[in-house]
Assembly symmetry: C2
Homo-oligomer: 445 residues x 2
């Protein structure tokens, strides 16, 4: 394999990423409540030597209860169950900085990292939308920039808690009765604008030191946050041109932050609609589009971009959308959708068809060769360090990707044939963070 | 088996409940960070057809970092891992109402209940102590009565969220595109003194409807809370007389609350120090007492009762303790310790020896016959519905209990030989709660 290694993450969502996946005969929609379904997905991705599996999350019902799969497992517990069914693959859970306490969240991810032997990752989200806030004692959500300010302080606290036990703090000398060296267990005494946390955490440092930090916001605030904190970035990019611009911009910000460009892996989403022939792939794409329930899709689109389009005639052009400065939701996704609608002059029906596959992530229909070509092109021309693979149907779409696309990527010397490392950080080629307290005492010495 | 069935819960704690367990040659103290150790404990308890395993928890470091095992897994994730290694046994996690949000906590336990196929239980604690509060943006903890008021409202919210999907809300009709009947998915619109939560939960109702509700506070506030909410109560009782008084009082309060006496199971803690002979059991008890590190034990005792006894001479009598009204910690445990010290006129060294086995829970050293006699006596004379078994050494003490005491209890027709039910509620002989929204619509009809 060449020095630079492709990274693949399997984004697991219900019975598939296409919004009508559950209506397609190749899925079993009751599986969304079955832990065995998700463990099976973890095993399939591991068979394909994927770096990781990933679960999105929210703290409210998404979409239209009548027509959507609105129920979901809590991700950290579900990944703990997947950890028991797998040996190597990384386990990335989404959790919000908006509505939980850093001490609780630090413990959950530390525990997942311990339980999985160093395979935990945290996809950091700030959570947009008033519906979420209304589940947490608030009438309305806080403003976009402030959400990111809170997130930054949240990360300060959580990473300090993860460092509060130095790696060699445990002594465990039964003879003397000394269990730990108390000089290596630190109060963090954080006092900030949003949080005051004394510490230490009641858990020893986890196998990875810090679980891998992942981020997916692509707004200005989001990119600045990623440049400071993220080690992997999931992003939605519709074209090679946009993807390259995003990749270049993000790496530049990372370097401007004093980090190496390599220290952050950029993974655009890809929805691979696979067929043995192009015609077969197109047929599957059409079948899925046919199954979209327009009323549900328009409601989901409205939530996605933070603009109410329900009631707008389906076969009229998408109306002019407000300026992004008026959007308090997911700003970058709003811009992506607006640009797509304007560029291609889409009607509302056409737009929901285009978004049905991956909510703004790029949909590529084709043969395994064509999908592999697409991946290779983006990987070798500065658009991606890897991909966030979003199979339209689960498990079938992931299994097909593993059985037909992954072998091509291996043959082209782009992707691993076996795991060589043990932790999620190993898979992504990222170092284990030095403990800030150990570092401080070494500097003093 | 007689109509009334004994219930056994295995309280799992590190490598044993005795505070010096980790120094004893029969334990491996490094196992406290090993998920396989806890999975093994789950399997041992399941071999003994225990109703459940249980994990305590706190949101701070307990005790003296130098001499204690201060690190621990987060319980819900650890029980999720144990769920994967077992099939029948119930899984009870402690979580605090003091420092988390009802929506997040409702999801975690719903998820554990889904993942385990209906085996989840929640041991509700309010969390005493300023050290905990200082990890959550506060200088000092709130006052005892207010903690329970918050807990009661927390339960109102969590149970409403668990009911927010009626049991038959899922339709999953691919043909029509209807996933759920939206008239059976309810906003809860809670607005109270401590919380405002809109709902619904983003999870369908879990196999048990509500995870089993467990509680362990034995103060006035604690008992009133238990009478309203608890379905199982863990309690520390030193004598048969005290245990009977507690049992009678609690059942009376439950009935006064309009619930049947049977609807709450009372399980005192028991620390069985087992030996093939009495002399062998006494020798083990002495070995463990010898291994106590006094400075650590006094610090733990001080935390347990909320009175600082560090610095008091070990071989002097325990000093007079303040009135319980001045205690803002675990009031009932304070009274238990005070009564024990006064009744037996103990020195501080003697007191820490007496508490070393089980932090105030009853220690019974003896042969399997003697332990079984003790259990039978308490069970048949109105002192207990079962026991919270706290093995002094783990796994050895639990394995000995399962292999030598459980067979006697089975032979005496007190305890099950196999699981007949599927869920934790089945094991405890407790009904699946009726959904409040279904009930309301039936009443209206």
């Amino acid at each position: 394999m060449s020095d630079r290694e492709l990274h693949l993450n399997a984004f697991l969502m219900g019975v598939g990423h296409h919004e009508a996946a559950w209506r397609h005969p190749r899925t079993d929609p009751r599986a969304v409540d079955d832990v065995a379904h998700f463990q099976n997905l973890g095993r399939i991705a591991e068979r394909g030597t994927f770096d990781s599996v990933f679960l999105a999350d929210g703290v409210q019902i998404w979409g239209d209860v009548r027509h959507s799969i609105a129920n979901r497992f809590e991700p950290v517990t579900l990944l703990t169950a997947i950890a028991q069914a797998t040996e190597h693959i990384g386990l990335i859970a989404t959790a919000s900085t908006g509505f939980s306490e850093p001490y609780n969240l630090a413990r959950l991810f530390s525990s997942l990292d311990h339980i999985s032997g160093g395979r935990a990752g945290w996809n950091i989200v700030t959570t947009a939308g008033d519906r979420s806030a209304q589940n947490f004692n608030k009438e309305a959500n806080t403003e976009h920039a402030e959400r990111y300010q809170r997130a930054a302080e949240f990360l300060d606290v959580v990473t300090a808690l993860w460092d509060s036990w130095e790696d060699d703090a445990l002594v465990v000398d039964g003879k003397s009765g000394v269990f730990a060296d108390e000089t290596k267990v630190h109060e963090i005494n954080h006092k900030g604008r949003f949080f005051a946390v004394r510490g230490p955490l009641n858990s020893v440092r986890s196998p990875q030191g810090h679980p891998l930090l992942v981020q997916a916001g692509s707004s200005e605030d989001g990119k600045e946050f990623a440049a400071t904190w993220a080690e992997a970035v999931f992003t939605a990019q519709q074209t090679h041109e946009e993807a390259t611009a995003f990749y270049t911009d993000l790496k530049r910000r990372v370097v401007a932050n004093g980090r190496s460009a390599d220290s952050v892996k950029v993974l655009p989403g890809i929805v691979p609609v696979l067929g043995g022939t192009e015609a077969e792939a197109d047929r599957l794409a059409d079948e899925l589009t046919e199954l979209i329930v327009p009323v549900r899709a328009v409601r989901q689109l409205s939530e996605l971009i933070g603009v109410d389009l329900t009631g707008h005639p389906l076969d009229e052009p998408v109306p002019a959308l407000p300026p992004v400065t008026r959007i308090n939701g997911a700003k970058s996704r709003f811009e992506l959708v607006r640009d797509l609608a304007e560029r291609e002059k889409l009607t509302l029906r056409q737009l929901i068809g285009r978004l049905g596959g991956g909510r703004g992530h790029q949909v590529v229909a084709g043969t395994p060769e064509q999908i592999a070509d697409h991946i290779e092109l983006w990987f070798t021309t500065g658009a991606a360090d890897g991909f966030n693979v979003m199979a339209p149907l689960l498990p079938s779409g992931l299994a097909e990707f593993v059985d037909h696309v992954v072998p091509l990527l291996r043959r082209r010397n782009l992707f691993r044939s076996e795991y060589t490392g043990r932790t999620l950080r190993d898979h992504y080629g990222l170092p284990r963070p030095v403990n800030r307290y150990t570092e401080a005492s070494l500097t003093r010495a």
